[in-house]
């Protein structure tokens, strides 16, 4: 082994505090180190060339750079190694700037000692580094899009046009979603059907899009690059190739049921056309409404069908296919207004929802609104939104604007109408929205700030009395209306639940699907290869939905376009000769990456027929599985158990009498970054701390923590990101479980359990970091060193204590 160590001055940033020459001298004495240099600017072209030349000339096989944070210049130096022909994974950096020279600027001597120790830790890890490479997996060009509303349609067209193979699955007989039901769209008052229609027509016209309507997802198994999808297609009983849309069947059908398109305000027959602009444009026989097909009860529609398009001898079809990525665009349902009992929806004749009103306006423009409108109309905002009493705290975003729209349309088509909008806040945040609101006010729509408390119906006239406080004048208004329109909020579509279960998609607190990161990954999910678009992710209007659909397409193309995708080799692996196939690890994995498989008899001699196997396409590298294995058969590349122990030993080896060591296991996402931020802000904290970087704290098993104490640690702090920002689902739960096991064992040996702590950080909690380190340091100093008898007992039977009998099996 030939390790090269480079100590950077960082243009004075380091060398003004830390004596770099002393650190270099220290490094020279370490075993396996064959070359040590110090330099002003390691990251400069000169510095990097130095490393490349040295690697070639001195045949270095590992490189340690004592300089700034690996999160700062790590990728630079990794590229340097690659240029010299070495694996980037044999680079280690010891952070003697952000996490040493900068926070400890007041204590140059102590900082130098600490810098030596940090370098020793890096060297210990480097010794055990393997020359790994990034893993590459093939990926095809097939996408499944679930949901044929405007989001699904837009995404299909983007991906189809880009040359990808699109499978669009929609549960209704026609694509188009809720937009099919709207009258006009705010703030431009475009006719919804007119702008939607051409887009809908483009879908079947695109040769790359395979459209499945009247179909639902039965099952999805697998993972990125290999999603196995099962679709169930319901029979329509009508052959679209033969159907001429002549309407003869509709005339003779004896069944009438509420028409979904009109929210039940009108009826349709059992055989029907889903919408005047339906795509596919073909009739559908609803076998649940029909009098009976097997045995045939009526059959009149078939009798009158001239082209012979109706065929009863058809059955549901099961279609299976495999895709590489998925976009979930299942959309929304409106809030069920019967839940808001004070408003009497469902009991009072003259209380309707905004979607009812949309349909009425569509028909009113043709002269027949389906039910009386009246002259005095009230809109009530925030129905089912911003309301803890029905369990929906969030704002549904579009209701203020759609009420502004509906009220104006009504007012302009009949200026004698008296129209009121009762709101709590009028949210007109988007492009052209405020101007549109002003137009409504100008038209004479009256906006009153107050949330109506109750509606009461006059049982004879069916007029609605509304009681509300006009909060701007503090008057109580009690007024009668002919019609009250409830501006209902949005809920995730009821079909979403099943899909979320198949794909293990998390939900945000408001019930909508959760994005991977609220700022930087708004259309990704934490399941690789699965994206979200449209209202399934949260209430939004049409422009935002279309934007998200195109965004999701772009993210999918990004994964699929090169034909392969890369994954960091920081992944779990199995020491197969130790594994006994007990399977305890399987449940622990939050991404279902572990399975049991039969051993390969030739390469793997073992008593146990089954062995654990990691699916590298799914493994995220969190390390949660490690602590669950009684045999310590599971491990993590780049952060192996051996490497962690070596780092811990190196951190404690030079501890002198009277000194205190606090080991801080800092996660990549939050705590390590935070520590860097603290250093950059030149905030000081206890010199007792030694920070060791991990992908996630869940990697630190109880055994490692107990070994750390045995080796001389006085305190341990696990720093992790908050659950909601963590890329590792379940890490918090794992860490908590590990820590409680450690605390139990410590307490049994009469060692204070509070020596080990777990804190969740966000990267801006600078003083939070400082306080936590300092308080732990103060605490263990007050306690004094751990009594040696306790330490000796700690070593004994650790495995038995952690795992009981399963360890000895």
């Amino acid at each position: 082994m030939r390790i090269g160590v480079y100590v950077c001055h960082c243009g004075g940033n380091i060398s003004e505090v830390v004596d770099v020459k002393k650190v270099a001298a220290f490094a020279e004495k370490q075993p396996d180190v064959v070359l040590v240099r110090d330099h002003e600017h390691m990251c400069s072209e000169v510095g990097q060339k130095l490393v490349i030349d040295d690697i070639k000339e001195h045949k270095l096989d590992k490189v340690v750079i004592a300089a700034c944070s690996p999160q700062f210049q790590g990728s630079t130096f990794k590229a340097t190694l690659e240029k010299a022909g070495l694996s980037p994974y044999v680079l280690e950096m010891s952070n003697i700037r952000e996490q040493c020279a900068w926070p400890h600027f007041d204590f140059p001597e102590e900082a130098t000692e600490k810098a030596k120790e940090l370098t020793s830790i890096a060297i210990a890890k480097a010794r055990l580094d393997e020359p790994l490479t990034k893993k590459t997996f093939p990926i095809g060009k097939r996408v499944l899009i679930i949901g044929g509303g405007i989001a699904g349609i837009q995404a299909s067209l983007d991906l189809g046009d880009a040359g990808f193979d699109v499978y669009l699955v929609e549960k209704n007989p026609s694509i188009g979603g809720k937009m099919l039901q709207l009258s006009r769209t705010f703030p431009t008052e475009d006719c919804a059907a007119c702008i939607l229609s051409p887009k809908m027509a483009d879908v079947p016209a695109n040769p790359n899009i395979h459209l499945f309507t009247y179909s639902e997802i039965e099952d999805i198994k697998g993972y990125l690059g290999n999603f196995e999808v099962t679709v169930k297609k319901k029979p329509t009983y009508v052959d679209p190739a033969k159907c001429t849309c002549c309407d003869d069947c509709v005339d003779v059908c004896p069944v009438a049921v509420p028409n979904e398109l009109d929210e039940g305000l009108s009826t349709r027959k059992a055989i029907y056309l889903a919408s005047p602009i339906a795509v596919p444009h073909s009739y559908v026989l609803d076998d649940k409404a029909c009098l009976g097909i097997f045995p045939l009860a009526c059959g009149k529609c078939q009798e009158v069908c001239d082209p012979g398009a109706i065929n009863f001898d058809v059955y549901p079809e099961e279609i299976k296919f495999t895709v590489d990525t998925i976009i979930v665009a299942t959309g929304y349902d409106i809030f069920d207004a019967t839940q808001k009992k004070v408003y009497g929806f469902g009991r009072y004749e003259n209380v309707i929802t905004a979607l009812d009103m949309e349909r009425m306006i569509v028909y009113a423009s043709e002269g027949n609104p389906m039910r009386p409108m009246g002259k005095r109309i009230a809109f009530i905002q925030c129905v089912g939104s911003r309301d803890e009493q029905v369990g929906n705290e969030y704002c549904s975003r579009i209701c203020c604007m759609y009420a502004t729209k509906l009220s104006q349309l009504l007012k302009r088509s009949d200026p004698t109408r008296d129209i009121y909008v009762f709101y709590t806040d009028l949210r007109a945040y988007g492009k052209g929205f405020e101007e549109y609101y002003k137009r409504a006010q100008g038209d004479g729509v009256k906006f009153i700030r107050g949330r109506p408390a109750e509606l009461i119906e006059d049982s004879q006239t069916n007029e609605i009395t509304l009681r509300v406080e006009d909060t701007l004048t503090r008057n109580i208004i009690e007024a009668e209306f002919n019609l009250v329109v409830l501006s209902v909020g949005l809920r995730p579509n009821r079909g979403t639940e099943k899909i979320a279960d198949f794909l293990r998609l998390a939900k945000s607190p408001d019930g909508f699907l959760q994005e991977a990161h609220p700022k930087f990954r708004p259309v990704d999910t934490l399941t690789d290869g699965v994206f979200v678009a449209g209202t399934v992710q949260g209430p939004k209007d049409i422009p935002d939905t279309v934007a998200q659909a195109s965004a999701a397409s772009s993210r999918a193309i990004r994964l699929m376009n090169r034909g392969e995708y890369d994954v960091d080799p920081v992944m779990a692996f199995v020491h197969t000769y130790v594994c006994d196939g007990c399977g305890l690890c399987i449940e622990q994995c939050p991404t279902n990456a572990i399975s049991l498989t039969s051993r390969d008899e030739n390469s793997d001699k073992s008593l146990y027929p089954k062995v654990a196997k990691i699916n590298e396409a799914l493994c995220k590298g969190c390390g949660s599985c490690i602590a669950s294995c009684p045999k310590y058969a599971l491990d993590l590349h780049c952060y192996t158990n051996e490497q962690m122990l070596a780092q811990i030993k190196a951190a404690l080896a030079d501890k002198k009498d009277g000194e205190v060591r606090i080991l801080v296991f800092a996660d990549d996402m939050a705590c390590y970054r935070l520590a860097d931020n603290v250093g950059t802000a030149k905030m000081s904290y206890s010199l007792d701390s030694r920070i060791i970087r991990v992908p996630s704290g869940s990697r630190i098993s109880p055994k490692l923590m107990l070994q750390a104490f045995s080796l001389g640690a006085d305190g341990i702090l696990l720093g992790e990101s908050e659950e909601k920002s963590s890329p590792y689902p379940n890490s918090i739960a794992t860490i908590k479980s590990n820590i409680s096991k450690v605390k139990d064992i410590l307490e049994k040996e009469k060692i204070n359990g509070n020596r080990v702590r777990f804190v969740q950080f966000v990267t801006v909690m600078l003083s939070g970091f400082v306080n936590n380190i300092n308080s732990l340091s103060d605490f263990v100093r007050k306690l004094g060193p751990i009594p040696s008898e306790g330490l000796k007992r700690l070593d004994k039977d650790i495995d038995k204590r952690l795992f009981g009998e399963s360890h000895d099996k």
Partner: protein, 134 residues
């Protein structure tokens, strides 16, 4: 009369006191007015329930001189309807209690006529005593 109000740290103390006594996060009230719309006693009040909340939010101690909190019948209609999940009846009670604990009763039992006392069921006297006297 248009009032000009000045908000000082004293005002905040009053808000904190009422918040603690009622165990409600009063700053969460966004003045939607559902409470006022639900209140059966509002015809007799000098300020509306939402106005009462607003004054407490701004720490305006003049709210203690209003009639509204005494007119409240503790019917909890506001409580079951508040979209922010606040319990206004407890805020009204806190305001009443601040006065009552200073040994300032709102009604004087002696002022009730003998006829009335004869008619009134005990339950009325007990509950009135609870809400109007200290």
């Amino acid at each position: 009369m248009i009032n000009k109000i000045v908000i000082t740290s004293e005002n905040v103390d009053f808000l904190n006191k009422i918040s603690e006594l009622s165990d409600q996060i009063i700053t969460r009230c966004d003045q939607c007015g559902v409470c006022s719309g639900s209140c059966p006693m509002i015809a007799d009040m000098d300020i509306t329930p939402s106005q009462m909340m607003r004054m407490v939010q701004l720490g305006r101690q003049e709210v203690m001189e209003s009639k509204a909190m005494w007119i409240c019948a503790s019917c909890f209609a506001c409580t079951v309807r508040c979209p922010r999940g606040l319990d206004l009846s407890r805020v009204a009670e806190a305001l009443r209690q601040v006065k009552l604990r200073q040994a300032i009763d709102y009604i004087d039992i002696n002022n009730i006529s003998d006829d009335e006392i004869e008619r009134l069921p005990q339950i009325a006297m007990v509950s009135a005593g609870r809400k109007f006297t200290g």
